[in-house]
Amino acid sequence: MRKQIIIRTALVTALILIGIFLYVIGKEHKVVIDNRDISIGDITYSASTTYVVWVDNQEIGVIKKGERNAAIVTGVSHKIVVEEIKSNVLTGEKHEKRFRLKTNESATVNIPAIINNANEWIDKTN
């Protein structure tokens, strides 16, 4: 009897934990990708060219200078890769960034900031 109560409690707890886990890893987040000028502190990084963007190995598309696009990502840790396009050819110059999102967060990333390795290339909001 005792044993059964313990097992049942453990099971229910495990199910709740699994539920939370599923919530976290299944949660969708919106990531807006800006290819625009950005000022962080006193420094301004300006958008200069077009980029192809991949988020979590999915191609989001081409973002021209001054434009933005959005990606829907699932789960916690993510990777964004941008590659420069000059006169319609991929230059092979890739920049990769990793980031994590908490359950209710969405994010805005800025390509010029990524290119310049600025610390605050990502802006997470709830």
């Binding site: 699994i18 539920g19 599923l22 919530y23 890893i25 299944g26 949660k27 699932t74």
Partner: protein, 375 residues
């Protein structure tokens, strides 16, 4: 002369025809409709594959109450509602993919258990009239569900995702797009044979359920259910808690139906908030009956034969209808009509057969008494 001729001992082949009248009629109809429809074999197989993966689970959910003698469980609609509530939540929270589906299952399970428990208690009050009661109960609970989803959600239950809320700020929209989990299970283990996508994972889940049901029959609880199903009173005097056992069978059925509905909707990809569950019971029951099951006896092969025959009918019938009458608009109405027809016909047939069997049994005992007592 004036004797009722009901008791005539029947020829076994006639009995077979009577027992399987519904499937036989379906096979004959389909045999005529297939050539008329002019559908290609490939199209046909693809459709069948989809229907099998979509519907089998829901129909399997019916088996356990049959075992417990409660007939066709119309209250699986309650399970379907529970599943839909789970789906509404994950859509609101934007949980997607397999984890979304699993979370929906996790959330809706306790709801299904509660609803099943409630249904079980109601059905216990209506012994012998379970089917009609279940049918009415499904109607009644549909009302409660609508109230809950149309007024409760967004009011009492916080819903933040405006894309599923009605513009007025509370209540769920008529249709919900389940893009996030659309066919995630079907495509989890990708396998394509030629042009046909085989939903391997879904079939695995269905196979697991079949194993579960087979195993369940062998458990003590399964045996109790069979006992209760055969004779309430005998079960009671041998110490089985009849009421409890019956409630459990409905709970299990409701929970399975809940999963079945989630599986069904992940395949479809959109949910008709207020209608998706409405005909779940009727279609599943009709399919099972077409598969050769009766109110008192249903097994796993009945489920698959049923899905194949019943849904083949709906794949070919509209086309055949078009070929015959230039009309393909039979669609949903035809389906509902046929389903109710099948159910009514099967029930009538079953009642009649039961009477014949009882009479034969009585005759047998009487003859036995005669043979031992008469000198």
């Amino acid at each position: 002369m004036r004797k009722k001729s009901l008791t005539k001992t029947m020829n076994p082949s006639v009995l077979f025809l009577i027992n399987y009248a519904v499937p036989i009629i379906f096979i004959i109809l389909i045999a005529f409709a297939i050539p008329l429809s002019g559908l290609s074999g490939l199209y046909f197989i693809r459709e069948l594959m989809i229907r099998l993966s979509r519907n089998s689970f829901l129909i399997l959910a019916l088996l356990i109450p049959v075992m417990a003698g409660m007939g066709m469980n119309f209250s699986i609609v309650l399970g379907a509602m529970a599943g839909e509530i789970g789906l509404i939540f994950i859509t609101d929270w934007q949980i997607v993919g397999i984890s979304g589906m699993l979370l929906a299952i996790l959330i809706s399970t306790p709801i299904a258990v509660l609803l099943g428990y409630f249904a079980g208690i109601v059905l216990n009050r209506a012994k012998g009239r379970e089917m009609v009661t279940g049918f009415m109960l499904a109607f009644f609970m549909n009302g409660i569900y609508q109230l809950f989803v149309l007024f409760g959600m967004g009011n009492i239950i916080p819903i933040s995702n405006s894309s599923i809320l009605l513009p007025r700020g509370y209540g769920i929209r008529n249709t919900i797009n389940l893009l996030g989990i659309r066919q995630v299970l079907d495509k989890l283990i990708p396998l394509k044979i030629g042009d046909i996508l085989i939903p391997v994972a879904t079939f695995l889940v269905i196979a697991t359920l079949c194993v579960f049901i087979t195993w369940f029959r062998k458990t003590k609880l399964g045996q109790d259910m069979r006992t209760v199903g055969q004779d309430n009173e005998v079960a009671r005097v041998s110490g089985i808690n009849v009421e409890n056992t019956r409630v459990l069978s409905i709970v299990i059925s409701t929970v399975l139906a809940c999963y079945g509905q989630i599986l069904f909707l992940q395949n479809i990809g959109t949910m008709n908030t207020y209608q998706s569950h409405e005909q779940v019971g009727v279609f599943a029951i009709a399919a099972l009956l077409v598969g050769g099951a009766s109110v008192a006896k249903a097994n796993i092969p009945n489920v698959f034969i049923g899905v194949i025959l019943f849904h083949t009918m709906f794949v070919v019938a509209p086309r055949a209808g078009k070929a015959l009458m230039g009309q393909a608009q039979l669609g949903e109405y035809f389906r509902v009509f046929v389903s109710y027809g099948v159910i009514a016909f099967s029930l009538a047939l079953y009642a009649w057969r039961k009477r014949v069997e009882k009479e034969n049994e009585r005759k047998k005992i009487m003859n036995y008494r005669k043979s031992i007592l008469a000198k």
